[in-house]
Assembly symmetry: C3
């Protein structure tokens, strides 16, 4: 029995009836079985590809991408996932388009979606904005489908909003599952999601938030560490706390990086901006207050500079379990002595983990493909079995 | 018998022998039967897609798009149409390309077309330029094919020139045909193609021209209304008049919006620039006279501002047949109180017609696909029948 | 027996065992039989396409393109080649991507390649840089594949570096082979690869270098002509000299355009920058010395202007064999009186050769496709035979 058949059999036992035609905003909207289904399909698609089996469930169709912030990794992951399933990517480049001043999101959403099966959106710059944009967009498509404007109901893959970064965090988690030999081995493992110094300003909060919102569902001891003033959204902390309680793990906070690293199995040191400052920035942008933004930026850079000791140094790594915690990062990292003078991580630490880091990133296309697959394919178990048994190859000869 | 088979049978009776390998510039180049063939194929492709039938007549091949003006709707419609038929879009972004100062259109045309099946061009900015560019481009490809440089004869879809906007106007018309329950119900219906105020400057004339050039072919009473000074190209008015005479409809002009709206079945209120001013602008651009252009812009904005009463208000709508004329727009509209202070249409009017407006737009991908299909497929009747009877699905499972 | 079967039989006899999974940097890395294999497959793919046979060896997969310099011809050729084989192009636009300041090429390379089968790179601007970038990129992918990060080993097609422009020069050569009725007719033919005046500054050296490095392998008499100071890389001249010795042809240099043109069978007059100046420019860029660059540019333009007599005029053409040498150019050319006041070639000369010039360019997509095919397909002979015998068509009906 192939690995794919095994995974299809596993999928069959999960309750995924509610995934068809549903959008993916945040991991905490989804049940444990739904998340497991995504990991399962991601592994199956990877197995099929490794065995040169065609995984085209679409003969034609479009995946629309909207990147309201720069992106390389996620852009290529989305393109790869769409291509793997037979969809062609059409990017909505807002600079090249005729989106009139004041054109409603409702209109744009319908106009680009007549033949769209999937919508991938990155909108992570402003607190209170990214998720709202996605929701408005997808509500418009739900209406458009209901009103007979669209012949299919496209589904959303959140490629990073102001709240969560689900494709990243689920790729991180699938990497952990593989590294630790199965989800059953994660119980009681200590994860340090910690802030780290970077010479830049204003990185999104969606990764730390996504991590505490997801990793607390696996019975792990998740510690969120940051200097005072670098709080994340309280709603997400509450979700993390509730998750931990339910799964027998824990969610704690500290203002000491060393405390978080102590005996940790997994460390995720990464810069982000303080939530309150990001809220302030959103308001300044809305008011068009350029001087205020510049002033805020200077203030935040100065605040950052007080915490240069928050770095994943060799010394810090020695505090972790056997000095060998699994180091995670969403990439690109600010690497001391390589990409900047002082940054998130020592070059020697980063360099030691390059292979696992790149493997971590390699799960993202499959996670995205699995999200699309489960939202678009009515009978995903049969689809996997058919692709496994089918004669169609990805590459001939 | 499926709808597609029915439509294929209808197509069989139309004289379409001259459509194969032919370009689509203007609707008035085409016979009535040829236009009917496009509507027929558009409906069939939509039916096939709704029934999850594969419509890929191409296994590979490129659709080249050249947008010399911004575009969202048409860009996505062209991409959707190409994808529906199995072609991949390759966009010629003139900013990223090595089109040397002075490189001839003939050279560019051949260089991008070695594996092109379809060329889609938007060039609508300058009177006397857009159509000329397309013609030069396609003549070069005709020669290239004749000379053995190209192995296939790519065909043009005019995605908007300075004269006509055929994919828009044919989508508008197919929408009307569906709304009125068939082309046979259009005779005697009154259409008001009217100018409307917009705070912007210099919108192309191709929509009003395309509308009067096309709608007059269906025995309707077409009224073109605009303030003095907002004339369209006289050649197109002559075409409209000749059409009307042939089909027993009428083509009239007025300088009163109210007169045009009175008892109208269909209204299409939309801003455009005066033809004479657009000709002046073309000359100023060619002369590189930036001050002259700025001066012209100011003059035109001032002229526009004198006609703020030309707006599709609730009061205006009440004048139409039962107060319920079908409201059309190519989108995006300038909506009073939503996208601008004073614009083409009241927000309450626009909002009431959103669903039909979006449906109107939804025909464009199918119109474009039908144009490609009829220009590229030698036996379109058989192709439709085969796709109808075939086992290939667009989405599996 | 079809032409494709004939070509497959020919391919079978060539030693191509070492081409699978190998990158294409420079023609002189490849054996004569390997180059012949590329010409053979290019011709076969063209024959299959002409006969409407599907040449999709990939059901899905990505071709990644990275253009660090502007491009139209090569961009469309790469896109066409990928499409012909079933790959979708995903362009890495460095302006739109989140390539952090200091992000390593190793990281970017892996991040964009999770589902990439082919990498096409143009990096021709700086001496000593282009090839180095490609090598670093592909070494990273070799490691990534070895480390289990990538599930396939993508292969490189050099779309122009600082040293060679292999897809251009091989397209040029395939054109020559066809024009002269076979590779066996090239022995003893005289080729003039000569510098020509252009009003622009700093064109890459990769075309003249690629030409002397490749054309000397066919027993031809290759003359490299340029004014003093316009030397190309000495390493490549040595390769040309060694090639000539091996094949019984010759490689000579002259500072007289007339001498080069005298009795030539083939002429390739084209502007390029002096090697020493390009090295200087690289250093100025690395030092960020903007004034130095401007000063260098002025100096080079003045130097260029001293050699306006180096132009492919009617008089010059009369010196060639029967006044009818085959005129080659990689396009776009600087055409006197058409695209510039004084340039590389007289308009009347250029115009007379337009059809063969465009045919020359038309081989590039097939050359690229053949490079991909031979690096990606394990049994290319069988693949050709199967496509020839198969029922799959490119366009139906």
């Amino acid at each position: 029995m192939s690995k794919t058949v095994e995974l299809a059999r596993k999928l069959e036992k999960l309750n995924i009836a509610d995934m068809y035609r549903k959008d993916f905003y945040w991991t905490w909207d989804k049940t444990d079985e739904e998340l497991e289904a995504i990991f399962t399909v991601a592994d199956a698609l990877r197995d099929l590809r490794e065995r040169n089996k065609s995984t085209r469930v679409f003969d034609s169709g479009l995946g629309i991408s909207i990147f309201r912030d720069n992106s390389t990794r996620t852009r290529f992951s989305f393109a790869s996932a769409c291509n793997l399933l037979g969809l062609e990517v059409q990017d909505l480049d807002e600079k090249k388009s005729q989106i009139a001043h004041g054109e409603t999101v409702r209109e744009t959403a319908n106009m680009v979606s007549f033949m769209a099966d999937v919508i991938g959106i990155r909108d992570d710059m402003f607190i209170g904005e990214g998720h709202k944009y996605m929701k408005t967009f997808m509500d418009a498509l739900e209406d458009g489908y209901g009103d007979g404007i669209l012949e299919q109901r496209p589904t959303l893959v959140n490629l990073q909003c102001d709240v969560d970064h689900p494709t990243q965090c689920m790729a991180d988690m699938l990497h952990i599952i593989h590294e630790f030999g199965g989800v059953e081995n994660l119980k009681g493992k200590k994860v340090a999601m910690t802030w780290a110094y970077s010479p830049s300003y204003g990185k999104p909060l969606s990764v730390p938030q996504g991590v505490i919102g997801l990793f607390t569902r696996f019975g792990m001891d998740v510690v969120l560490a940051h200097p005072e003033g670098y709080e994340v959204m309280p709603e997400v902390e509450q979700i993390a706390a509730a998750n931990a309680e339910k799964t027998g793990g824990s969610f704690t906070k500290t203002n000491s990086m060393a405390e978080a690293f102590a005996d940790a199995d997994i460390v995720y040191p990464k810069s982000w901006a303080p939530f309150a400052a990001m809220e302030e920035r959103t308001k300044l942008y809305q008011a068009g207050d350029k001087d205020g933004i510049d002033e805020l930026e200077q203030r935040l850079l100065a605040q950052n500079a007080q915490h240069k000791d928050w770095t994943c140094s060799e010394e810090m790594m020695k505090l972790t379990k056997d000095g060998k915690a699994l180091y995670l990062h969403c990439l690109p990292a600010d690497i001391t002595g390589l990409s900047c003078e002082e940054g998130e991580v020592d070059n020697s630490v980063f360099d030691r983990y390059i292979v696992p880091l790149y493997k971590e990133a390699s799960f993202k296309p499959y996670i995205i493909a699995a999200m699309i697959f489960l939202a678009q394919i009515k009978d995903p178990v049969q689809a996997l079995l058919d692709m496994d048994a089918g004669e169609n190859t990805r590459k001939n000869h």
